[in-house]
Symmetry: C2
Subunit: 166 residues, 2 copies
């Protein structure tokens, strides 16, 4: 089916045209990837930034603001605005650190967890459908290429998260 050009495929499959198709696929797919949570959040006063914060706080409860902003790749000022509204609205709790009182440790409240579930359910449903359509083998390849595409420091952070999952 797919293995064409025996011998020369390692050259053939790296044509500019093939690469460009990959670039465009990435662009369109990311739109689909964010579409469902975006729709949910559009109603409330929240956006993608809030989703990301909620996701990673859920992922690593008790994480500090500094941790979070490195993961998200934004300035602390930018993250702070998002965090402030989430705390005000009672979705996130911010606790002063015990050993280091400069730090704030972040946790989702019950309401925060409820929203997180709503958002990630939608995103997982999309992911699940795509995985099902493509099959297990394709999923393995998908993950390999994505990991290779990350910046080095982000790949490390991703690996840490991944390993902490189980």
């Amino acid at each position: 089916m797919m293995s064409d050009a025996p011998g020369g495929e390692s050259l053939l499959f790296l044509t500019d045209e093939q690469l460009r198709q990959g670039i465009e696929a990435m662009f369109f797919a990311y739109r689909g990837f964010t579409a469902d949570p975006d729709r949910i959040l559009a109603g409330m006063a929240y956006g993608r930034a809030h989703h990301r914060a909620i996701h990673f706080i859920n992922r690593a409860p008790g994480t500090t603001v500094n941790n979070l902003l490195i993961l998200l790749g934004v300035t602390k000022q930018s993250l702070n605005r998002v965090l402030r509204t989430l705390v005000e609205d009672g979705l996130v709790e911010s606790k002063v650190g015990k050993s280091d009182k400069r730090e704030r440790h972040l946790y989702l409240t019950e309401a925060g967890e409820a929203l997180e579930r709503k958002l990630s359910d939608a995103q997982r449903a999309r992911m699940r459908a795509a995985y099902r359509a493509a099959g297990p083998q394709a999923v393995a390849g998908f993950r390999q290429v994505l990991e290779a595409m990350m910046d080095n420091d982000l790949r490390r952070k991703y690996q840490v998260l991944k390993d902490s999952g189980t």
Copy 2:
């Protein structure tokens, strides 16, 4: 919790944990994907929006404004702001349509093509490295999952572009 189906790797590989890893991989990879062009554009007065416009005008020379804004998924007001600066700066040419004079057909000037090359060279280099690291089989899977992740109407548009690529 989850009942583990006997010999059911097709079930096992769709655990919430696996899906979540895919979601995070997508998030981090997209950051890498856009990092290089973003760095190049940061110096000039341009941003990601300009890159996208330039990319698709290069991809389909003579495309109309309406075509473009459907492809990009933004409003005409938003696209117009970007397009206006590109035309003013002599990177894009806007020609009144021959058969339908309401339409404007968009083309890159030489300067526009030069910038397009600079941007896509950087992005292709990243893509090429990721493809090389992951291997041909992984690339096929990568593309399959991405296509399955797109919204239906975008997938159609993506296919049209892909087929027009040669």
